[in-house]
């Protein structure tokens, strides 16, 4: 690279170094110590003790499982939903701008606000909005449940909140991808006599490939960073049914002042996200070579 190129890249590189690389290196080093926030005791290197502790902590193992389940459900559901919404909103409709704004609006809301609103929606008892809705659609067969304190329903409740909040963002990205597809391709396909379904399958999807890869990747990473909804809606409960790696890290570092343990958790989380990302890119690339 030329000197000018370095110069132009410098602000971004400096930012990355200062706010991404440095904290990670610090976290990595701290994970091998016994650092506690503000402790007057001398800092000691304790080797792998923090890692040993988090991997023998059932709450942390459950957190990893929850993260995995969350990602396995939310990533496909949210991506498909975003694709559907984008297809619906990519046609000439009256009040199109209004619909696009409405679907995008939850993304603009702070997650904390969204979580509080959904706590009200999931209110227990027959008067809770979700309970009342389910009772109506099942013609009275639904028995009111306390969603956020139900070991089976709490994680799905958080998934629903997350999908509702996040789907607009993916929708906008896919919408941009859809609009970048040249109209000529569809015309050519139509002339060849391709049905709507085949046009979607053989024109739209292949053209959206890069967009979808990006969306899946970003959603996966966000799924592993799940924190706000958990902190506000369930505090990891009931009985760790909704705890996540990030929630455990924040609890350790800031509620219990065990910075070293928090650092160890974030290091593990970082490695897992890195692994998942690399794996995904590998798989996608191989497909591309075959295609």
């Amino acid at each position: 690279m030329t000197r000018a190129a370095w110069l132009f890249a410098a602000p971004a590189l400096l930012g990355l170094l200062l706010f991404v690389a440095l904290p990670f290196v610090l976290a990595f080093v701290l994970a091998f110590t016994n650092l506690r926030l503000g402790s007057p005791l001398p800092l000691e290197f304790v080797g792998l003790e923090q890692f040993h502790r988090i991997f023998s902590d059932p709450a942390f193992l459950r957190a990893l499982l929850n993260n995995a389940v969350f990602a396995l459900v939310v990533v496909p559901v949210q991506t498909l939903l975003a694709l559907g919404l984008a297809l619906l909103l990519n046609r000439r409709l009256k009040g199109l701008a209004l619909f696009r704004t409405l679907f995008f609006m939850p993304v603009v809301f702070p997650l904390s606000l969204v979580s509080v609103v959904w706590i009200l929606i999931f209110a227990p008892g027959a008067n809770g909005m979700m309970n009342a809705f389910l009772e109506t659609v099942t013609l009275g067969a639904w028995q009111p449940r306390d969603f956020l304190h139900d070991p089976v329903l709490a994680l799905p409740a958080i998934m629903l909140t997350s999908v509702w909040q996040g789907v607009g963002f993916q929708m906008v990205i896919i919408l941009a991808g859809l609009q970048a597809i040249p109209g000529g391709l569809y015309e050519a396909a139509a002339i060849d006599g391709a049905s709507r379904w085949r046009r979607f399958w053989h024109v739209t999807l292949p053209q959206l490939r890069n967009t979808l890869i990006f969306v899946v990747l970003v959603t996966t990473i966000l799924a592993f960073r799940l924190f706000d909804q958990v902190q506000i809606m369930t505090q990891g409960g009931p009985r760790n049914a909704t705890t996540t790696a990030m929630y455990e890290a924040v609890q350790a570092a800031f509620a219990r002042q065990q910075v070293a343990k928090g650092a160890a958790i974030t290091v593990v989380l970082f490695l897992i996200v890195l692994l998942v990302t690399v794996l995904q890119r590998r798989l996608v690339r191989q497909e591309r070579e075959i295609a």
């Binding site: 706010f19 440095l22 904290p23 610090l26 016994n34 506690r36 926030l37 503000g38 402790s39 007057p40 005791l41 706590i119 009200l120 209110a123 227990p124 008892g125 027959a126 306390d146 304190h149 070991p151 924190f227 505090q235 990891g236 409960g237 009931p238 009985r239 990030m246 890290a249 924040v250 609890q251 570092a253 800031f254 509620a255 219990r256 002042q257 065990q258 974030t266």
Partner: protein, 424 residues
């Protein structure tokens, strides 16, 4: 996560720079910085007016007040402490005091508060401020915790109305009362435990159950272990009773914080801060009662924000003048009137409409002065103790086996104490 990390890193990075270059120093004026939490609007106005009055009255001391949002207060103070940049005067959330004192940031206040002032303070204020035999913090107000009730609902259920803390309902009586109330209730939920509140509430409000049963959060003799105390049979029994209320459908989830004021429940386990709203909604029907007795007499929570100082030498004397000013009966009353809390001094209580003789919240004063209120454990391990107990409470609420949940809390607490070499 990332934001708090940022604060720590920025503070670490910038700790070399300092910002005291601005004001031109008059040699005879002592400049002090004071940090306080930004509470409700009325509270903020009072502390700002108090600082202005003090600066006016005391020309040789100049206090600069900074208000910090309550939610991130502890994180910011901790970051400043790591950077060695704490102000001379600062407010702290009561039970965190001991951790700061252990970290060596706070100066003892012994000898700086005159004897007649100390003797006039509520005993609970002294108890909360004490760590290892010395006073590190002093509150301008204290808190009160009790059961608010609807008189009409209780008489419909044929309940006995306790006359004072010595006469509190027993836990069995209370369970029977819940059942009697539930029989006439649409959804069967008749008790509000403020399940909508965030973290610290659960330790503040429900550790008194343990103490009333003869157990505790930790063995207070040396604060070295919670084993055999937090998981003692008495603690298991008390928390099992609480679990039965929660799992039996007697407790309203209170997601809208309106269970009591809208009449959905007849009983609300809550603090002094709810009085104004409850009195507005229920009027003469409102009753204030002590928490149920689990065997060793009713126990209740106490403690709130306290002032501590980091100043030494001549500056310590100047800082102490500010604390003495805040503790003048008129100033104590001004703050207590603004936030509704229990005034810290008997002299102020005597002139308080709510807390004076015959006042509607007199019970809170009786609880604080007659030995019913228990301070949260005075140990640097408190942040871990409260986190562990909260986790146990949530697990118990969600149906975990009580003994196992308490055992896990004990293990977490004892591990932390061992990691810190006993906090000696």
């Amino acid at each position: 996560m990332s934001r708090r990390w940022l604060i720590v890193i920025i503070v670490l990075g910038l700790s070399g720079c300092s910002d005291d270059a601005a004001t031109p120093e008059r040699p005879d004026v002592i400049h002090l910085r004071a940090w306080a939490h930004a509470g409700q609007a009325a509270e903020r106005r009072v502390i700002q007016a108090q600082v202005a009055r003090f600066n006016e009255r005391t020309p040789d001391v100049d206090i600069k007040l900074t208000l910090i949002p309550e939610r991130s207060y502890n994180a910011q103070v901790q970051a400043a402490a790591i950077a060695g940049d704490l102000p001379e005067l600062l407010e702290l959330d009561g039970p965190y005091l001991y951790n700061y004192a252990w970290q060596g940031h706070l100066q003892p206040l012994d000898g700086l508060l005159p004897g007649d002032l100390s003797n006039d303070l509520l005993p609970s204020i002294i108890a909360q401020g004490r760590y290892r035999g010395r006073i590190y913090g002093v509150g301008v107000f204290d808190s009160g915790l009790g059961l608010y009730a609807s008189r009409r609902a209780l008489s419909r259920a044929g309940a006995r109305i306790p006359g004072g803390p010595a006469d509190a309902w027993t836990a069995q009586e209370f369970t029977a009362l819940l059942q009697a109330l539930a029989a006439h209730d649409a959804d069967g939920a008749v008790l509000d435990l403020k399940l909508n509140y965030p973290g610290e509430w659960f330790t503040y409000a429900f550790s008194p159950i343990l103490q009333s049963a003869g157990a505790d959060l930790i063995d207070r003799n040396g604060y070295q272990s919670a084993d055999g105390v937090l998981n003692a049979p008495a603690a298991v029994k008390a928390m099992t009773t609480l679990q039965a209320w929660l799992r039996g459908g007697f407790v309203d989830a209170n997601v809208d914080d309106g269970a009591f004021v809208t009449g959905r429940v007849a009983l609300s386990w809550a603090g002094h801060w709810e009085y104004a709203r409850y009195a507005g909604a229920l009027g003469d029907d409102l009753l204030l009662l002590p928490l149920p007795d689990f065997g060793h007499g009713t126990r209740t929570g106490q403690g709130s924000w306290v002032w501590g100082m980091t100043a030494t030498g001549k500056r310590a004397e100047a800082a102490a003048r500010f604390l003495r000013f805040l503790l003048e009966p008129g100033e104590v009353l001004a703050m207590a009137d603004a936030n509704g809390a229990v005034p810290a001094r008997q002299a102020a209580i005597a002139n308080s409409e709510r807390y004076g003789d015959g006042g509607p919240l007199r019970l809170f004063v009786e609880q604080l002065t007659e030995g019913y209120a228990v301070p949260r454990p005075q140990t640097p391990a408190y942040p871990v103790i409260t986190a562990a107990f909260q986790q146990a409470f949530f697990d118990i609420r969600d149906g975990a086996e009580v003994r196992a949940a308490l055992d896990r809390a004990v293990a977490a607490i004892d591990q932390d104490i061992a990691d810190n070499k006993g906090y000696r």
